[in-house]
């Protein structure tokens, strides 16, 4: 199995945010995760990226348990993420934001980093070249030397994705990438996601924009109150009565 979330439980005191959830993600797929607000989607992402240690269950990636690793080692294992509320480094240019993500690939050691400017410069040039390729791919290369947080919202979203890709991930976790985007921007986001998938990166997507999720995800998992209530292809999920109930409420509740 590529990425296996196995009976994951995340409890905060008396609150069970994620309750015994198992999700399997295949290599190269675009996997959607939907559910009403507060159903535990972002909590799952935070466990996957190592911010929380699960109180039950585990996450394994390519046969190795990763849920007990520190965050930076999870990134090194091949996970990258974006955030629901964008978290670009505010003092840095677009290019510098990407270079931070590349730092953990550096082969130049600590002392060389301080005392061997030639080696540092050589490595830096390589990183810059690769970063520019990613910025090109996401169509924000023109802003490479602008302050990242000074860009329009839609562009910042792309920069955040480029920054995640800069860590050279196998899986990218996208937390509501369409939030705050207009219809045209969402359409171009859809194209971007296809491009990312074509790089060979598996996408795990939390999103509220149903049109986008249904249009692009090969498989969708649905959460409600921390439990997985359904999983399947777009059309199957759309017809699933349990899902409809979670989103709209039961008819005879009234």
């Amino acid at each position: 199995m590529f990425l296996e979330i196995d009976q994951l439980t995340m409890q905060f005191g008396g609150l069970v945010a994620v309750n015994n959830v198992s999700i399997n993600i295949k290599k190269g797929e675009i996997h959607g995760l939907i559910g009403p607000n507060g159903s535990g989607k972002t909590t799952i992402f935070n466990v996957l990226s190592g911010y929380y240690k699960p109180t039950g269950g585990k996450v394994s990636f390519e046969g190795r348990v990763i849920s007990d690793l520190p965050a930076h080692q999870i990134t090194a294992a091949g996970f990258a993420r974006t955030f629901q509320s964008m978290r670009l480094f505010k003092s840095m240019t677009v290019l510098e934001n990407l270079l931070v993500g590349m730092g953990h690939h550096a082969k130049v050691g600590l002392f060389q980093e301080i005392f061997d400017p030639v080696a540092v410069h050589r490595e830096e040039q390589k990183f810059i070249e690769k970063a520019m390729e990613l910025l090109d791919l996401l169509e924000v290369a023109d802003f490479a030397n602008e302050l990242a947080t000074s860009l329009p919202y839609g562009h910042q979203r792309r920069v955040e994705m480029a920054r995640a890709l800069a860590t050279d991930p196998k899986v990218i976790l996208l937390d509501e990438p369409a939030a705050g985007l207009n219809e045209i921007e969402t359409e171009s986001l859809r194209k971007t996601l296809t491009k990312i998938r074509d790089l060979g990166v598996t996408i795990f997507l939390v999103e509220h924009d149903m049109k986008l999720v249904m249009g692009i995800c090969e498989i969708i998992s649905v959460l409600d109150y921390g439990k997985k209530i359904a999983e399947g292809t777009g059309p199957a999920i759309r017809k699933n009565p349990v899902v409809i109930e979670a989103y709209l409420g039961k008819e005879d509740d009234q």
């Binding site: 955030f83 670009l88 480094f89 840095m92 005392f115 400017p117």
Partner: protein, 335 residues
Amino acid sequence: MKNKSSILKWIFIGAVVCLLLVFPAIAKSRYQVHIVNNIGIWILLSLGLNIAMGYGGQFNLALGALWGVGAYTAALLQTRLGVPFWINLPLSIISAAIMAAFVGLPSFKVRSHYLAIVTIGLGEVINLFLVNQDELTGGALGINRIKPPSLFGFPINTDERFYYLILIMVILGYLIGRQIVSHRIGRAFRALRDDFQAARAMGVNTGYYQILAFAISGAYAGAAGALFAQWNSYISPDIFEFKSALIVLTMILVGGIGNLPGSVVGTVLLLVLNEYLRVFERWQLVGYGIAIIVVVLFLPGGVVQLAGKFEDFRQRWLARLTKGKSNVEEQRNVP
């Protein structure tokens, strides 16, 4: 246009270097050289704190005590074992850096001003050690008769001679600092300062870089300590207290936090101002305080902000001169 300004920049740097090289010859008195030497030592301290705090967001207010660790390492090695300066300098740097790494351990649990308070406490613990372990450290009396260093039998025993040693150390310290902050380490530091959680997600080993930030500031303090001990030939614990860290903090706030030239500008400004304010005697500290408040109120990014303001003014002025042809201000603001 850009070429022209970079030529100007190199002319400026060249002029400053020439002035620095001949300074002892043109100084009005030996006292001036003494003051400048003192400024050099404080520049090393403020470079260290600016890297850790300005870039890395790690409040290392044990800096005064770490300065002491460097000074005592050098002084003890010299007076007890006769170790020459060239060996005890690197040993002072290493010992202060290791001590700083320990001081940095609480940064795993507490951040920003809470971390500042914890490091103040740890600094005072180190200082109390220096005062109370009198068999080792000489206690409150300190250590005197520390011999000056010598280079191939040529003793560096006057302010003029020390001037060049300190100048070389400050230039090296600045260049190394620039190398640190403008590449991977500096970006990792700024990433932790800007957004700790995002830094973790970008593969930045936050714990490692937090400790590294502390160790680097410790290394600078260690170098400053070794220089200070052998230049002053006498050290005592009362200089290596929290108030020294506070002075360095003020220097980088006034000069420009997260900005290496800011460290230099802030240190020079405060120490020179200090000399001019001496005529006011007991009002000296009041003047000092007012100067700091004025800077913090009007230039929150430090005095180095003036350079940017001057550049804006020049651009606007140029734009007015060439009105109709091009509007520089407009070009600059549209991405």
